[in-house]
């Protein structure tokens, strides 16, 4: 009997000794116990580290085609080129490493745009409600049903022709920027829907009404009280969206509509796909890189879902 009582008593007094952990700290504690999430975090960290340190550690310049001169294109992995060389005499390892910053720029860039639009549209729709809500959400539906990939392909190609001869042409990596912008423009609806639901839920929460009572300005209510509480589910969507954006850019580049001036995994696949039979490593390396990155972000999102919302799974 006594043995059973002791822990209960301890649990009751515990909050008195130590203030309860904040939502973020609690989530981190739960996240750490989630195996899938931790693997995801590790993979994402690996890609981020590759992007930061990689360029200093890469054995060759990514634009070095000197292997062509010694007739060593399509060379199999060896001590000289750890992952072989490709169709154009590039070192596959170096090229693969330089693809990491591009991939992250695409994923983060697209999601920054998507979150800004999504939170703004969803937040307004959820907080204001009524006709505004209806109109904004129909707009979100529009972007949700459009065949994104097909439209992106056409727009990238057509835009590439439109800018010829204009001042825009001088922007470096314009083609890649167009792709990032399009990916952002097409991936905000899920974020907007979630933001709307959260803002609607929190609009009548007690702490918001309490804030209203003490005369908090509307701006502070929106940005200091509602938004931080609406963030957790949105972060999950952003993590998922980064993976999807990276994958979509890879597919666009694989089809030959990517940015010829930037080094991306999809581009590597595009250049080397015809030589798949002679130099499979030149396709497998970028393919594996895309897989690891997308898997990392998907697992991370999975772990975050559990961490923020422990009741979802029993």
């Amino acid at each position: 009997m006594n043995a059973e009582l002791a822990p209960t008593a301890l649990a009751e007094t515990a909050p008195l000794r130590r203030p309860p952990l904040g939502v973020w700290r609690q989530s981190w504690h739960r996240f750490r116990r989630n195996r899938a999430g931790m693997i995801g975090l590790f993979l994402v960290a690996l890609v981020v580290l590759t992007a930061i340190i990689g360029p200093f550690a890469a054995p060759y310049d990514p634009n070095d085609q000197s292997a062509m001169l010694r007739g060593a294109a399509h060379a199999a992995p060896s001590a000289r080129n750890w992952l072989g060389t490709d169709q154009n005499g590039y070192d596959v390892l170096s090229r693969g490493i330089y693809g990491a910053p591009t991939a992250l720029a695409v994923g983060l860039g697209a999601m920054v745009i998507a979150s800004l639009i999504g939170v703004l549209v969803g937040g307004i729709a959820g907080y204001v409600g009524g006709f505004v809500d209806e109109a904004l959400m129909r707009g979100a539906d529009f972007f949700m049903i459009v065949p994104i990939f097909v439209v992106i392909l056409a727009v990238v190609r057509l835009f590439g022709i439109i800018v010829v001869g204009t001042a825009l042409e001088r922007i470096p990596n314009l083609n890649l920027m167009t792709i990032i912008l399009l990916l952002g423009l097409f991936s905000w609806p899920p974020i907007a829907r979630m933001a709307r639901a959260e803002f609607m839920r929190l609009r009548h929460a007690e702490f918001v009404e309490a804030a209203l009572c003490i005369g908090t300005t509307r701006r502070d209510i929106l940005f200091r009280h509602i938004l931080p509480n609406a963030l957790p589910p949105l972060i999950v969507l952003v993590a998922l969206g980064i993976g999807t954006a990276i994958l979509t850019e890879a597919m666009v580049s694989f089809l030959g509509f990517g940015d010829p001036k930037s080094i991306s995994w999809g581009q590597m696949l595009f250049f080397n796909y015809q030589a798949l039979k002679v130099a499979p490593w030149a396709c497998l390396v970028p393919g594996a890189a895309i897989f690891v990155t997308v898997l990392g972000f998907n697992l991370l999102a999975d772990g975050l879902t559990d961490a923020f919302n422990p009741r979802v799974r029993g």
Binding site: V150, L158, G243, L299
Partner: protein, 322 residues
């Protein structure tokens, strides 16, 4: 709100959506200038008159709004215009190449649904066992595997290393496999269908498992167990029906996704379908094909979404019409 009004409202929204997409794309194609002029810019000996005549033939003269109207009017009469590159009616091209696309996508969809349902049932009923663990972890991996990487791996293994399956095209160009055009066609379908199946099965399995787990926890299932029904009947008859609902809504999305990413699938296997047609049309600025095909894909996508919404409401009376 009655079911009729719900459908009517969705139809109206779909029409606006299709119009919107067509207008934006038409405006963009218009913004690049006269496609005929761009296409013939490098060709020597082309006079301005020839460009003018050709432009008139393809309906590229006159102002933007007039052209959009006449294009829209023609589309409403199922006249998609004539392809500049193939010199054939776009409607015929879409039909012929579309059949090739459906030929690999529909079997892929059916096969993956069957496999995913079986795997989902096993995983959900043996929750937290080794079968569940291996199904869920391979589905998690497969869910992140890009479609083209699956295709590349399949080609490497089955075409290049084992040499048993063709890696490209829908038919052999010289000797038909086993002397029959039907068997030869089926033989070429194996790898593309396998790629689409692997690609879809992962996501569908995860979905099936989680919805079945949810359903199995409900009171009516406990009641079914308590009434002494055999496990087979409880799971396959009572639980599976309700667990299918989220699956069903996802099938529409999946069909749209497959159609949308057909360019990738068909590039990997050099498959002569809608995706390959679309890529060549974009590269060569064959604008009637670009417009026609985008319209077809959008309409299919909208229809799939609409049908799943209606099916959703028809199947599950708990869902409110909104």
């Amino acid at each position: 709100m009655g079911a009729f009004r719900f459908i009517l409202r969705r139809l109206a929204f779909s029409a606006v959506l299709i119009l919107g997409v067509s207008f934006i794309l038409f405006a963009l194609i218009n913004a690049i200038g006269n496609p005929i002029q761009i296409m013939l810019a490098e060709t020597p000996g082309v006079s301005d008159e020839m460009v003018a005549t050709l432009s008139k033939f393809y309906g590229l003269d006159g102002n933007f709004i007039d052209r959009y109207w006449s294009w829209l009017w023609a589309i409403l009469h199922f006249d998609f215009g004539t392809s500049i590159i193939y010199n054939q009616p776009v409607a015929d091209l879409l039909q012929v190449w579309g059949m090739e696309t459906l030929k690999i996508q529909l079997p892929g969809l059916v096969l993956s649904t069957l496999i995913a349902t079986a795997a989902g049932v096993v995983a959900a009923t043996k929750q937290h066992g080794w079968a569940d663990f291996s199904i869920v972890s391979s589905a998690m991996l497969g869910h992140s595997l890009p479609g083209f990487l699956i295709g590349i791996l399949l080609i490497l293994i089955f075409s290049y290393w084992l040499g048993v399956l063709p890696s490209y095209g829908a038919y052999s160009t010289r000797n038909l496999f086993m002397g029959s055009i039907v068997i030869d066609g089926l033989w070429h379908m194996v790898l593309p269908v396998a790629m689409l199946t692997v690609f879809n099965t992962a996501t569908l399995t995860l979905l099936m498992r989680s919805s079945l787990v949810d359903v199995l926890r409900q009171d009516y299932i406990t009641a079914a167990w308590a009434s002494g029904l055999p496990a087979r009947r409880v799971v396959l008859h009572h639980a599976l029906r309700n667990a299918f609902i989220p699956q069903l809504t996802y099938l529409g999305t999946l069909f749209g996704l497959m159609l949308g990413t057909a360019p990738v699938t068909e590039t990997v296997f050099t498959w002569p379908g809608l995706g390959a047609l679309y890529i060549s049309a974009i590269q060569q600025l064959d604008y009637p094909v670009i417009m026609g095909e985008t319209m077809i894909i959008t309409v299919m996508l909208v229809l799939a979404t609409l049908l799943t919404d209606i099916a959703y409401v028809a199947i599950d009376p708990r869902i409110r019409l909104a």
